[in-house]
């Protein structure tokens, strides 16, 4: 079996399109013939589950307390013992998105997890719980994409450790450029300090508007600063992206796409192909 490809969507800023990117790249990679697993670590608003319309179902299970084990359980020190006692532990965690990829949804248990992980003295262990889980329990998938919270905490560190490849959606603006620069140097520092090699694999310009002089300038700036990292296609701003998310699906399952949505879809496809290439390199 070939090696499992992994990437995490991350930027410590809210609302730049991390979840949207994971959802669409996930479906695109699945359409390209991969078995894809999406993991939502982005917090208990469970956006990825909502994006695929499985949240209501999952929420009912949570309310009925039929929600154990869940993604937060795999971070606990008891996990190995738990997994031994369950026939197919992965199967207990996974949901079908109906659009190709499988999904491990976020769970309210992630909420207290960040603070709890602080109690693990051994720092390498604190950050490698997810990696251990993926290595030991997640087989049968060609690609694993992880959605991370928009903040730098113990959970996002776990995601970065496990994936080692980071996809960063940014909007075109001065703050965002700065944010991406900071992330790049953060990742370099993390890699220097620890025995991991976390790399910025793809920077995606998201929600771009029709070309103005200003956005042209930002695009030039980005390509200079992130040579070789920039995604081949910008993802245009399209109301259909938002509408589809509200309806609980991606653009792939949406009918009667607007022009901008068609371009967005094309961008996701091209970027997925390129991501696959970069992850394999």
């Amino acid at each position: 079996m070939s090696e499992q490809l992994r990437a995490a969507s991350f930027l410590d800023k809210g609302g730049t399109g991390k979840t949207t990117t994971v959802a669409h790249l996930g479906v695109a990679l699945s359409e390209r013939g991969n078995d894809v697993l999406l993991i939502d670590l982005a917090g208990k608003q469970a956006d990825l589950a909502k994006n695929f319309g499985v949240w209501e179902d999952y929420r009912e299970r949570i309310e009925a307390e039929d929600d154990w084990p869940n993604i937060s359980t795999v971070f606990r020190e008891q996990w190995t013992r738990i997994a031994k006692k369950i026939d197919d532990p992965l199967d207990e965690l996974v949901y079908d998105t109906g659009e190709g990829p499988d999904l491990i949804p976020a769970h309210p248990g992630l909420d207290g997890l960040d603070t709890e992980l602080n109690d693990i003295e051994e720092i390498e262990e604190r950050y490698s719980r997810l990696e251990e889980f993926l290595d030991s329990y997640v087989s049968g998938y060609d690609v694993v994409l992880i959605d991370l919270p928009g903040s730098t905490n113990n959970i996002s560190y776990n995601g970065l450790w496990a994936a080692q490849h980071v996809v960063v959606p940014v909007e075109a603006g001065p703050f965002e450029a700065q944010q991406a620069e900071t992330l790049k140097s953060d990742l370099e520092r993390i890699s220097d300090r620890f025995d991991v090699d976390v790399e910025l694999t793809m920077l995606v310009m998201n929600k771009t508007d029709q070309r103005t002089k200003l956005s042209e300038e930002f695009a030039d700036e980005y390509s200079a600063a992130f040579d070789g990292v920039l995604a081949p296609h910008e993802v245009p701003r399209s109301q259909d992206v938002r509408n589809a998310a509200v309806e609980g699906r991606t653009l792939y399952a949406e009918r009667g796409l607007s022009e901008s949505a068609k371009r967005a879809l094309e961008a996701f496809e091209e970027n997925a192909e390129e991501l696959e290439r970069r992850l394999k390199a």
């Binding site: 410590d12 809210g14 917090g43 208990k44 608003q45 469970a46 949240w55 929420r59 949570i62 309310e63 154990w68 084990p69 937060s72 359980t73 606990r76 008891q78 996990w79 013992r81 738990i82 006692k85 369950i86 769970h107 309210p108 248990g109 909420d111 207290g112 997890l113 960040d114 603070t115 602080n118 720092i123 919270p149 903040s151 730098t152 905490n153 113990n154 996002s156 560190y157 703050f175 953060d186 520092r189 993390i190 300090r193 620890f194």
Partner: protein, 154 residues
């Protein structure tokens, strides 16, 4: 899953945070803030040793507190410790979300906090900024001598 041991493991790892029974899916979302210091700063430094009976009024940091703080700041800056800290409190979480969504409340609370702690905000009153300012204000108010150490580190 009827196994006794499994049931015990389940109890141990269920986590304390259940979804709000009212069904408001946003209630209780974690509030998070970015800032130069992780929450380890307080726990790693043995600050509790300085709380003796005599300092009921204003707690004083131990002599080596500043060094411990500086070294933890260093470790955050090197990426050893994460940059964000979080707290779990459903009502406070709801509070910050409500303030953040309400333009007037956001400006009111944000400006009052900035006046109080006298620090700059960069990117407007984001939720992270509101939390950060509130934490600063709280430490300043309740533990001014610790606050001194804190501002010297900035």
């Amino acid at each position: 899953m009827t196994d006794d041991e499994l049931e015990e493991l389940r109890q141990q790892t269920r986590g304390t945070d259940r979804i709000d029974a009212t069904g408001d899916e946003d209630a209780g979302v974690d509030v998070e803030a970015d800032s130069g210091s992780g929450d380890d700063a307080a726990s790693d430094t043995g600050s509790s040793s300085s709380r003796t009976a005599s300092d009921a009024k204003s707690p004083t940091p131990a002599d080596d507190f500043d060094e411990c703080l500086a070294s933890t700041v260093g470790s955050v800056e090197r990426g050893v410790q994460p940059k964000s800290f979080s707290a779990s409190d459903p009502v406070l979480s709801a509070f910050f979300q409500t303030v953040y969504r309400d333009d007037e409340a956001r400006e009111d609370v944000g400006e009052a906090l900035v006046d109080h702690v006298d620090v700059d905000v960069e990117d407007g009153y984001t939720k992270s900024e509101l939390v950060r300012l509130s934490v600063l204000a709280g430490v300043q108010e309740a533990a001014p001598e610790y606050y001194e150490e804190l501002v010297e580190t900035f």
